[in-house]
Subunit: 293 residues, 2 copies
C-alpha cells in the first residue's frame, strides 16, 4: 500500500483524520515526523531543523483557522550534543514565539539518524476544512511561493547561511485566524501549490483555474531559477513553503483580513466545476521528492 | 552528554518540561518515541504496539492528574501493510477508549525500522507534580508491579499470546483523576518502581523506605520468577508497568479514592528525610535496559 492509499484508509477509519489537523472538541492537534536525510539538506543547522519541524506542525494548525497553544518534539539522534540540542530547542522556541505558542519540550531518543517528531495543539471554534470550496470562489495564497525551493538551491550551492535563512519561515497562524468567516476551504501548501489545489479540488468536488502571472513568487526564486519553466517548478511543485491556500466568495474582504495581520494575500485564480488548470493547461498533481525520501 | 544529562539540561531550558507531562494553561501534553528493536520484543503484534505506545503517553497524563482528551501517533515503517496499519490503529483506538479519549490518527512516514511517536493531550486544573512529597507521607502504587517483566519472559519463551496480553495495560487516568486533592507527589512507573522512587525523592528533596513484602506483585510474575531476588527484580527494576507511584499524607482516603475507580492501590512504605531503602538496604537507582536501546 503506498502512502496515499494508507492515508486514505486512515481517514476512513478515523473520522477526525484527513485534514491538516484533527479536531477534538475545541482542540486542534497535528503531528509530523522529519528525518535528516529526507527533510534537512546538508548545511541545515539544528536551530533551523527545530524551527522548521515545529513550524510545519504550527502551519497545520494555521490551516484549520486555529490558534497555537503549544508544541512538543521528540529529538532522536545517535548522540546528544549539548550545542546541537540547545540549538534545536532555541529554534523550536523561536518559531513558537512567532505565533504566541509555547514550546514545552518533549522526549529524547537514541536513534541511528537525526529524526524529530513534532506535535502542535491549539484551540479552534469553527475549524476551516478542505471541503467547502464552490465554483466561482476566488482561490488565494498567503505570502510568497518558492521560498523553500530557493533555500534548497542555496544549500546545494553551499550557501548554508542563505539556505538556513530561507528555511526559517513564519507559520501563518495569525492569517489563518483572521480568515475565519472569510473562507470556504483552506489547507497549507506543504506539498506544493499544485498538490494543494488537487487536494482542495478532491475534498470540495470542484476544480481550479489559476494564472501563472498572478502567482506571488518569492524574490529569492528569481535569483536561482534557470528560466520561466524552472521558476514555475519552484513556485508550484517544490512545496514546503507552508503558506495557506484558501478559497473565498469575497476575496476583497479575505485579502484585507489577512493583510491586517501583516501578511500579504493574493488572488491567483478561481474555483471551477472540475479540473485543475493553469493558463488553460492541466496542472499536474505532482510534488517534489526530497532526497531519498 | 548522556540522556539523563540532556533531560536535565532541557528541564532547565524549558520550565514546562521535566515532569511526566508539560502543562500549558489548562492543557497537559506529553510525547514519546518507541522503536521496534528496543521497545517491542519479537512477537509483539502491531495492535499491541499501537495500544502500548499510545498507552505510555496516556499514562503520563494520568501521572499529572489530568483527564485524557485525545492522542495522535506517527506510524513510521519500511512499508505500509494494510493489516499491520489497521491493527496499530485498532490498538491505539482501544487504549484511548479505555480512558475516554479519542484516537485521531496522525502521520505516516517511511522509515528503515518500525518506529512510532505518540502524543497525548488532556485537561488539568490542579496538576500533580513530582516535587510535593514530605517525610511521613505514605508512598503507594496503583495496580500490580511486574506485569511487563512477566510479559517480556513470555515473549522470550515464544508465548506471544500471553506476552501480548500482558503488554496491553489500562492507563491509570481514572485513578490519577481520583487522586487530585489526595496526593502530595505523583509520577508513573515507566522506568520501574526503584527509579520512580529516586526521581520522586530527588524532585521532593526527601527519601523513601519501602518494605518488599508490601509490594503488590502481579500474579504472572510468580509463574516466571526464578527466586525471590528475581521476583524483586521484576517488580522494582524492569519497569514499564505504567502504574502510578504517589505520596499522600492521608493514605486511607487516597487508597479509597483509587479503589472507587475500580483499581487497587497499596501503601508500600513512607517518605523519609533522605535515602531510598527497601527493608533497610539501599535500593539502587537502576532500571532495565531493553534490547539494544
Amino acid at each position: 500500500m503506498d502512502e496515499r492509499s494508507a492515508l486514505a484508509m486512515l481517514s476512513t477509519a478515523l473520522p477526525g483524520a484527513g485534514d491538516d489537523a484533527a479536531v477534538v472538541g475545541d482542540l486542534a492537534i497535528t503531528t509530523d515526523m522529519l528525518h535528516e536525510r529526507s527533510d534537512f539538506p546538508a548545511g541545515t543547522t539544528r536551530e533551523t531543523a527545530g524551527w522548521r519541524a515545529v513550524g510545519a506542525s504550527l502551519s497545520d494548525l494555521a490551516a484549520m483557522g486555529a490558534d497555537a497553544t503549544c508544541a512538543v518534539a521528540v529529538y532522536a539522534a545517535p548522540a546528544f550534543e549539548e550545542a546541537e540540542l540547545s540549538a534545536f530547542v532555541r529554534g523550536a522556541s523561536e518559531v513558537c514565539e512567532r505565533v504566541d505558542a509555547e514550546y514545552v519540550g518533549g522526549d529524547l531518543d537514541e536513534h541511528t539518524e537525526f529524526t524529530t517528531a513534532t506535535t502542535a495543539v491549539g484551540h479552534v471554534e469553527d475549524p476551516i476544512y478542505r471541503d467547502g470550496a464552490a465554483p466561482g470562489d476566488a482561490v488565494c495564497v498567503t505570502g510568497e511561493l518558492g521560498r523553500t525551493a530557493a533555500g534548497l538551491r542555496k544549500f546545494a550551492a553551499d550557501d548554508a547561511e542563505a539556505g538556513n535563512d530561507l528555511f526559517r519561515f513564519t507559520p501563518r497562524v495569525a492569517a489563518g485566524r483572521a480568515l475565519r468567516g472569510h473562507t470556504s476551504a483552506m489547507m497549507d501548501s506543504s506539498d506544493g501549490l499544485a498538490r494543494s489545489l488537487h487536494q482542495l479540488a478532491e475534498a470540495s468536488d470542484c476544480g481550479f483555474e489559476i494564472e501563472w502571472d498572478r502567482l506571488p513568487v518569492h524574490p529569492a526564486v528569481d535569483a536561482v531559477a534557470d528560466d520561466e519553466a524552472d521558476r514555475r517548478e519552484c513556485a508550484a511543485h517544490v512545496g514546503e513553503d507552508f503558506e495557506l491556500v484558501f478559497t473565498t466568495p469575497d476575496p476583497a474582504a479575505a485579502v484585507a483580513a489577512v493583510e491586517a495581520t501583516g501578511t500579504d494575500a493574493t488572488v491567483i485564480g478561481e474555483a471551477t466545476e472540475s479540473g485543475v488548470v493553469a493558463d488553460g493547461d492541466a496542472l499536474p498533481d505532482r510534488g517534489y521528492t526530497h532526497g531519498e525520501h
